[in-house]
Amino acid sequence: MVSDPSSQLSFRQTLKKELPLWQERGILDATQTQSLHDLYQLEDIATKANRSFLGGISVLGVSLVGLGAISFVAANWQWIPSFWKVVLLLTVMWVAQGVGFYLWKIRNSYPVLGHGLIFLGSLLYGANIGLFGQIFHLQGTFYQAFLLWAMGALVMAYALQSLPNAFLALGTAFAGYLSGIGDMPNASSPGVLFTYGAWFGLALFWPLAYSLRSDVFYSFLVLAFGISTLVPVLQNNWFFTSSSTLLFATFLGILISLWIWLSSVLPLKDGKTEFRSGAKNLAFLGVVLIGYFYSFWDVASQSVQQIQQGIPWGLWLQSGIVLIPLVTLISGIVWFFKSVDNPELKLEAVAIAIGASAVLVPILLGFGTWLTVVWVNLGLLTLAAYWLWLGLQQANRRNFLGGMGLSAIVALSRFFEYDTGLLLKSLAFVVVGGTLTFAAIWFEKYLNRQENLNRENLKQENLNNV
């Protein structure tokens, strides 16, 4: 079967870099080079990558500045009558959505900005659920608010085929489902919505993943579905009701993440190491999510309480679900250090180990709450620094964005968590949003400089060879 040319960006980028060399060395002639150029549409690459990266960042930047504006209004507005509050909130949401739709779909002159505004509209819709609840003294729960938010974002994602809205809907639905399960008065009869929640979710989101043609969204959907089907099962299990649930789930989560990472660097054949980036990303995501969860004071203090009651190691190890990954992990690590001598890979091993120890060390050494919180936050920032460094080192946008994003989320979460005033929160949003946008633009310029430098070096080398 003849397949289509690969549209994978990284492959095309490499090809674009290599082609001049192949032509230089006489492997290809000018016509062949041009044919490859046309087949893989190499002309589009730089601009496309730039656009999608800057697009992503501007969506993030616009959202944060928007959130800053919301907090600012919230800080000042208790003297406005309820009716006018409702009018103001709805108008702001409609304007963001209306202008976004006009720019994106009707004029099509600023599609990225337009799409960003549509996404901002969905964030405002979520904020409005919270604010309406506040104005009218509603007594709803978090999970109800999250599920309503998910519904609105999902409808928008379908209507405009919008990937950011799809992710927002999936994230809020997942958060709503998990907090709802935790909220249920009686775990044995959680009601139809929660018993079949994962399946409802799959039925609602699967057609969206299909129509959006997004591999990434599809992967996250499957992951969310997997976790959602497991949770109700685990909820009635022994460890979910025992006093060390949190510790156990953490321990197992870290173990599985490390195991997934190791499986992504296992040799396939002829001793060659194949890099499977999907599994690797999943492993880092697992470690970061668990670390992020632990970076909150309440979680850390609950964990400290459970440690003080004693960790039932014996009970844990009796279960195959712990023992099998643990044994294979240890043998895998021994193999890794004996047979792998790729320095980049070793550094990556250190990075994921730092992520894992951010959570495991406080548990194993029995740190107090204060020390645990500081330790975990520092661990997360170290990981962020690693990605920033990697992004600069390899001129890789995804790593740079990952590092920036993680440090921004850690910073914003701390602002939200502790009892700071709304004005300060508003300022934090604007500063972080502004910094992100500025860093993204700086990084684009940095990449361009690097590219020019490489080109000149190549020219110089060719001259020397001649």
């Binding site: 919230a74 800080a75 208790q78 309820s82 409702v86 909130l89 709805l90 949401m93 409609w94 959505q97 739709f101 779909k105 009707i106 509209g121 819709y125 409005n128 659920i129 919270g130 309406f132 609840g133 506040q134 104005i135 009218f136 003294h137 509603l138 007594q139 978090f142 608010a145 309503l148 519904m151 609105g152 409808v155 928008m156 379908y158 209507a159 405009l160 085929q161 008065p185 009686n186 993943a209 299909y210 129509s211 043609r213 997004s214 591999d215 599809y218 939200f416 968590e417 009892d419 005033g421 709304l422």
Partner: protein, 188 residues
């Protein structure tokens, strides 16, 4: 893996205005349900007063609020209560006090079914049993940031003089109106 077996998409030139408007309309309706329900209770409901005992947490999503508990939050304190399972809806019949401005309404009966007959000086309040408490939809009252310390101080110093005024409609649904602590009114 996903892309391998689905056809790539033809570029969509049609502007999905109808879909977009439907999505915005649905979001707006969801948002307006809350004010609509509250307006209905405020317009048709009876004002009642309950004695309250507060606690003071901080909620990230909703800003600041006072969490309120009542004498009638404890199911065992309700006349005629028999053990029920979690999630059970309960109807509490409240009796108007002699002194309408200063006194509080008191529970005279609790039942699983809604009482068919009430005297003119009675209302029925609907609650749900959850984790050993009866929740009436009156468990929190949002307060502005600046008032937080003053209200908390007042509540701590005069816990016995904290009252909540609420509106209750014919179905038994309730919404908080104002908080009164030692004669001072907090209405937001």
């Amino acid at each position: 893996m996903f892309k391998a077996w689905i056809p790539s998409k033809a570029p969509d030139k049609k502007v999905p205005l109808g879909f977009f408007l439907a999505a915005v309309f649905l979001q707006t309706i969801v948002l307006l349900l809350a004010p609509a329900q509250q307006s209905y209770i405020l317009a048709t409901g009876t004002t009642i007063t309950l004695r309250t005992a507060p606690v003071d947490p901080y909620n990230i999503l909703q800003g600041y609020y006072v969490a309120l508990g009542y004498d009638i939050s404890d199911p065992k304190a309700l006349p005629g209560y028999t053990a029920q399972k979690d999630g059970q809806t309960l109807y509490v019949t409240l009796q108007q006090p002699q002194n309408v401005t200063e006194g509080e309404w008191t529970a005279v009966e609790v039942s699983v079914a809604k009482p068919a007959e009430l005297s003119p000086k009675q209302v029925v309040l609907k609650g749900v049993l959850k984790n050993g408490r009866v929740l009436y939809g009156l468990e929190s009252y949002n307060i502005p940031e600046e008032q937080r310390i003053e209200i908390n101080d007042n509540l701590r110093q005069r816990p016995e003089r904290a009252l909540l005024d609420a509106k209750v409609d014919a179905s038994g649904a309730a919404t908080p109106l104002r908080l009164r602590i030692a004669g001072k009114i907090y209405d937001y």
